[in-house]
């Protein structure tokens, strides 16, 4: 089969991941050290001779290394395929794009569902809880392994945007440009509350077995499904849900029971179920904790602008009008702190309808601003 015939012209086409072994010990914020770890990685485009055109894509809660293109035989592209490819905003003709499955993930990188070398059993709940800073340290070791001393751009949406900020603060000289999309300077109490309910759903599932469900050959699917259903509500705006589902009954009349009666119930159950089939409950717990712990200002007496004074990158912060999970007001807090720190920053608030998930969509205004900003960077790094 010819890939060019099978896939759109602006797709990176068929891609395959590879496993990078990081042999350098990684000291974690929790006090523990991982002597070695593995990261699943995909790359698109090619690194130029000056090694100046590398872009790191940081994923959000449920993302992984498969950001663009198609795995052989798949009909569904990577999670940010709308944005990455030849001629797309992150133009793979010009940039060398690196996407990874973060440490603690469940798509092949070292994490709760991989084997603990000390026991020969899956790590499960013994896998250390991680912070965004730990991820950034792990990604810096990956950059070393790839021979990339400075990223042209570090980019990400939502939890991915948290990693971008932490990169710029912790490794100022290694981040030339920082793209922070649909993020926040830290979680609000409301954000943490949603995460806590998601965790309780998983932890209270009898099939969770304190995280040791692999050995029992079970899956805490009810808990994980509920967690994802809850998450999905926060990814969509009230308006988007109304437009998508209304209050439509699936049947002609109410049936007065607890089966699926409304379209939105059907949607949430489907989203929850398909998530259970592709995600790990321990990783979900770990990711939500990393979200909750994120606060780059904590080491600077609660002063976010003091944290950003470490950074050297040119920032571009993007928010979406319909996003209530990480609203434009939260992004403006980031911008305010960057301005107070005297850093280079631009900000755009994109007119949108969907909600938090808008950052994954090919909204014309969004992509136009991305193209404008990334187009200048491509020239800057002679990509």
């Amino acid at each position: 089969m010819n890939a060019k015939e099978d896939y759109p012209a602006d797709s990176v086409g068929v891609v395959s991941p590879r496993c990078m072994v990081i042999d350098t010990p990684l000291a974690l914020d929790c006090g523990r050290t991982l002597p070695r770890h593995e990261l699943m990685v995909e790359t698109y485009g090619s690194l130029n001779i000056a090694r100046s055109n590398a872009v790191l894509v940081c994923h959000a809660l449920s993302g992984d290394h498969h950001a663009a293109g198609y795995h052989a035989g798949d009909h569904k592209p990577g999670w940010w395929d709308s944005c990455i490819g030849p001629g797309k905003p992150v133009d793979t003709h010009r940039f060398f794009v690196v996407a990874l499955n973060n440490l603690g993930g469940c798509k092949g990188s070292t994490g709760p569902n991989t084997l603990n070398p000390d026991t020969g059993k899956p790590w499960g709940p013994d896998f250390p809880l991680l912070t965004v800073r730990d991820w950034v340290r792990s990604q810096a070791l990956l950059a070393d392994a790839l021979g990339i001393s400075q990223w042209a751009v570090v980019m990400g949406g939502s939890l991915g945007g948290f990693q971008v900020m932490q990169w710029a603060i912790d490794f100022p000289a290694r981040v030339r440009n920082a793209l922070v999309i649909a993020a926040a300077p830290r979680l609000s109490a409301q954000n943490i509350a949603f995460n806590e309910i998601a965790r309780q759903a998983i932890l209270s599932d009898p099939e969770f077995h304190g995280g040791h469900f692999y050995e029992r050959r079970t899956v805490p699917s009810r808990g994980l499904k509920l967690a994802r259903m809850l998450g999905h509500i926060t990814y969509l705006s009230d308006e988007a849900m109304r437009a998508k589902f209304g209050q439509e009954l699936r049947t002609a009349a109410p049936s007065f029971n607890f089966d699926v009666e409304f379209e939105v119930e059907s949607y949430l159950r489907h989203q929850g179920q398909s998530f259970v089939e592709r995600f790990d409950a321990n990783t979900y717990l770990l990711m939500t904790k990393a979200l909750d712990y994120f606060d780059p200002a904590r080491d600077f007496g609660g002063d976010l602008s003091a944290a950003f004074r470490q950074a050297l990158a040119q920032f571009f912060v993007i928010a979406f009008e319909a996003d209530w999970r990480f609203s434009p007001a939260r992004s403006r807090e980031i911008v305010k702190a960057l301005v107070a720190a005297g850093r280079e920053v631009s900000y755009a608030s994109i007119d949108s309808q969907l909600g938090h998930d808008d950052f994954l969509m090919a909204l014309p205004e969004y992509h136009r601003q991305l193209r404008a900003w990334l187009g200048r960077i491509a020239e800057q790094v002679q990509a």
Binding site: K336, Y347, R368, Q369
Partner: protein
């Protein structure tokens, strides 16, 4: 020297010392800030039009999407050497509050506006018509200009607010100075440029 810069922006650029920190309210396509960057003056532009935001991003000008009518809350007191507003004061909900905000976040404010006391305006009004002039090309029903003023009105406001006029430049529509400007500025000036400072401490 301001080669290639639009004449109105060149006049403003001439007033800004190299190495300054500048906030440009309604920065358009970022031409002023891009020019100032080559003189080591850095800063941010505020803009609401997505086309202009894209142009700023493309040329590497820091642009922040914001509506100046909402105030400059995000900016700390005295955080800029200059706060610039070019030909937009008359489109603000409350021009007086905007200038006050400019003088809060900046040491110096530079504002330009079309002079509603210009003879072309007066002529149109004397004929019983709202003016449509080179400086005010829109008709009454589609103009963004909701708070037009004359040079005399503006100076009254400066006096009332105790804003110090540090520099003033009154120009014709080709942005030239001349003897007529000095003779009767409120009659002959089509464009007005002011550099303002905060009230002296009480």
């Amino acid at each position: 020297m301001n080669h290639g810069l639009r004449p109105d922006l060149a006049l403003i650029a001439d007033w800004i010392r190299p190495g300054s920190r500048v906030l440009d309210l309604g920065c358009g396509d970022g031409a002023l800030l891009a020019h100032l960057a080559s003189h080591n003056a850095r800063g941010y532009g505020l803009e609401i039009d997505p086309d202009n935001i894209a142009r700023c991003l493309r040329r590497g000008v820091n642009v922040i999407e914001a509506d100046v009518d909402d105030g400059l809350r995000e900016f700390a007191d005295g955080s800029f050497d200059y706060v610039v507003m070019n030909q937009a004061l008359q489109a603000m909900q409350r021009p007086d509050r905007v200038v006050a905000e400019m003088l809060r976040v900046g040491r110096t404010a530079i504002v330009t506006f079309p002079n509603f006391g210009h003879w072309r305006v007066r002529l149109a009004l004397s004929n019983g018509r709202m003016p449509v002039t080179p400086a005010l090309p829109e008709t009454w029903f589609n103009t963004p200009n909701i708070h037009l003023c004359t040079v005399a009105d503006f100076e009254d406001l400066c006096q009332a607010q105790k804003w110090r006029v540090l520099k003033r430049s009154l120009l014709d529509h080709q942005l030239r100075d001349g003897p007529l400007m000095k003779l009767a500025p409120n009659f002959f000036a089509e464009a007005a440029l002011y550099m303002l400072g905060s009230p002296p401490p009480a």
